[in-house]
């Protein structure tokens, strides 16, 4: 699918944080953890998307975004099962289209339909409906906050849990010293195989990059999908004040590539000049603690490093 990006976008790009919309589109007061990286990502995204939105929210940590009778959003919010946010988005989109085309709903009252879902919903239960929706060219924005486990239920392993991470269902034991023995699913690649108009990975630590990507997506039609790395102080085991440091290290070590997919081409929009060793990222999180103590597991760390190196080899100039 070919994307149409207006030329005017180039000039109106965000360049510094003070260019961001000063209005907060998500009110404070939600019960999400202090220092939530996912909330920071969604906050920045909503600053661009504005209030004419309808959010279809899968069960997950962000269940706590809106707890009846309270909502932090200016637009509407529809709560769904873990596998249901994309079918819900289809229903809402169809209803809006029918009302506009058959029942005279003015076009200015149209809403941008947004799916907000965690990595568990996105990689596991909700993957098949998403595949179908991209195939049908559903006009929606998908925001996946990726904290690499089922965070809301106490941090169980998901399809996005990385190799070597300790989760409640992949603890490190003498038989399984790595903790999680599976590697993270390549969700970007799975989505890319469907050839939608736009896919991007974003980090809360890169507000300008994130905002420009949402701005670009907002001007487009069809399925536009985002993966937002969401450092999780509670589940990953680090001090809440370090959320942005962890997000930065994920990019600097090359573990989380910041990229976008437009017109069949992948571009890395923030590329580490010289990648730091992965252990700089791993050693700061309790979920990887067993790789360093009581005995250093160089074999597992080396495997994680070689996976990262293999990824970047595809793109080395």
């Amino acid at each position: 699918m070919t994307a149409t990006i207006p030329d005017s976008l180039e000039e109106s790009k965000y360049k510094k944080v003070t260019d961001l919309n000063p209005e907060e589109e998500i009110a404070p007061g939600s019960a999400l953890c202090a220092g939530c990286g996912g909330l920071e990502g969604m906050r920045l995204a909503m600053k661009v998307l504005g209030e004419n939105t309808l959010t279809c929210n899968a069960a997950g940590c962000f269940t706590l975004i809106s707890v009846y009778p309270f909502t932090p959003l200016k637009g509407s919010w529809l709560y769904t099962t873990m596998s249901g946010p994309v079918p819900a988005a289809q229903g809402v989109r169809d209803a809006l289209d029918i009302r506009m085309h058959k029942h005279g709903l003015p076009e200015k009252e149209d809403l941008q339909v947004i799916v907000v879902a965690g990595d568990g919903s996105t990689n596991d239960m909700g993957l098949s409906p998403t595949s179908a929706a991209i195939h049908r060219n559903l006009d929606f924005i998908y925001f996946c906050y990726d904290n690499e486990a089922y965070g809301n239920t106490g941090f169980q392993q998901s399809g996005a849990s990385p190799l070597g991470s300790h989760t409640m269902t992949s603890p490190d034991t003498p038989e399984h010293p790595a903790g999680s023995e599976r590697t993270k699913k390549d969700l970007f690649g799975i989505w890319m195989a469907h050839n939608p108009p736009y896919i991007a990975t974003v980090s809360p630590r890169e507000p300008i990059d994130l905002s420009n990507k949402f701005k670009k997506a907002k001007a487009m039609k069809g399925p536009r999908l985002f993966i937002c790395l969401s450092p999780c102080p509670t589940g990953w085991g680090f001090d809440p004040k370090d959320t942005h440091l962890i997000a930065k290290l994920a990019v600097d070590t090359g573990i989380f590539p910041i990229k976008e997919f437009v017109d069949g081409k992948v571009t890395h929009t923030k590329r580490p000049h010289k990648r730091l060793p992965v252990e700089k990222y791993l050693e700061r999180q309790k979920r990887f603690h067993h790789l360093f103590a009581p005995k250093r597991r160089d074999d597992i760390i080396a495997q994680i490093q070689s996976n990262v190196d293999a990824y970047w080899e595809q793109y080395d100039e």
Partner: protein, 302 residues
Amino acid sequence: MLRIRLHGRGGQGIKTASQILGTAAHLAGFQAQDFPLYGAERRGAPIVAYARFSKNIVLERGPVAQPDILLIGDETLLSDPMAAVTQGTDASTLIFINSRHTSQDLKKHYHLESLPVQLDISELCQKYIQKPMILSTALAAVGVRLMGHIDLHHLLQAIREELGQGRINPEKIAANLTLAEEVFQKAPSFDLEFSESDNGFSASRLVILERRPPVDSAPLIFATGNMAQRKTGNWRTHRPVVHNEQCNGCGICYARCPEGDIRMDANDKPVIDYDHCKGCLICVEECPKHAIEIIREVESWN
């Protein structure tokens, strides 16, 4: 039966404190029950845990509505009506407050019916484990002391067992044991009497709720962004304070605050919304000019 209720914030080790208490009582020969109340609780949010001990089988279930002992790990919760810390207490309730204030001042300020037991366990936690707000061991030690009937070695064994299950290194466990001994020596002992005539079960008194205008309980869901009516400022254990003279107005703190609690004023200086700031301290960490200071929220009044 003896009923204990523990109050604190997510991340302070309140659940672990109840587990240590339960295990210590079990080792001392009691029938024991301990459990936290789970909901949408998060780090910093008010947390409740319960314990029941008896020489006979404990058949009573559910939250403890009328505690014999109330252990309050975080004094700031007393100013928060939502946390309902003193609910179900009366003049006979033995109340412990982790505070720097005197018992007399605490009683007067919070309109308590009985004179509370006071000890600054945060200071001891800072001294022994360098974490003033990880209260699990110290609060359990206070609980053991207040109820009596449990020896120091039972407490220490319980700490070894409970902390040994977590991913805690041996040096930290040793530091916790020293901390527990110190608190055990410092906290007063009461050796509370166990009334065992009640065959393990007693019905809770009916709580008659005060009549309030409907608008108090039913804010308009049609109002956008009404989540702001919920104040999360009480989650905070530390307060970020901006020093404007050092601030260069770059807006990094505003951009990085996940809650959107920082706005830039007309002079490009950040203004923090303390009603909602959860105290993650990202702004302190990220400020390139180190213009934001951390102040510990130790008490509700000065």
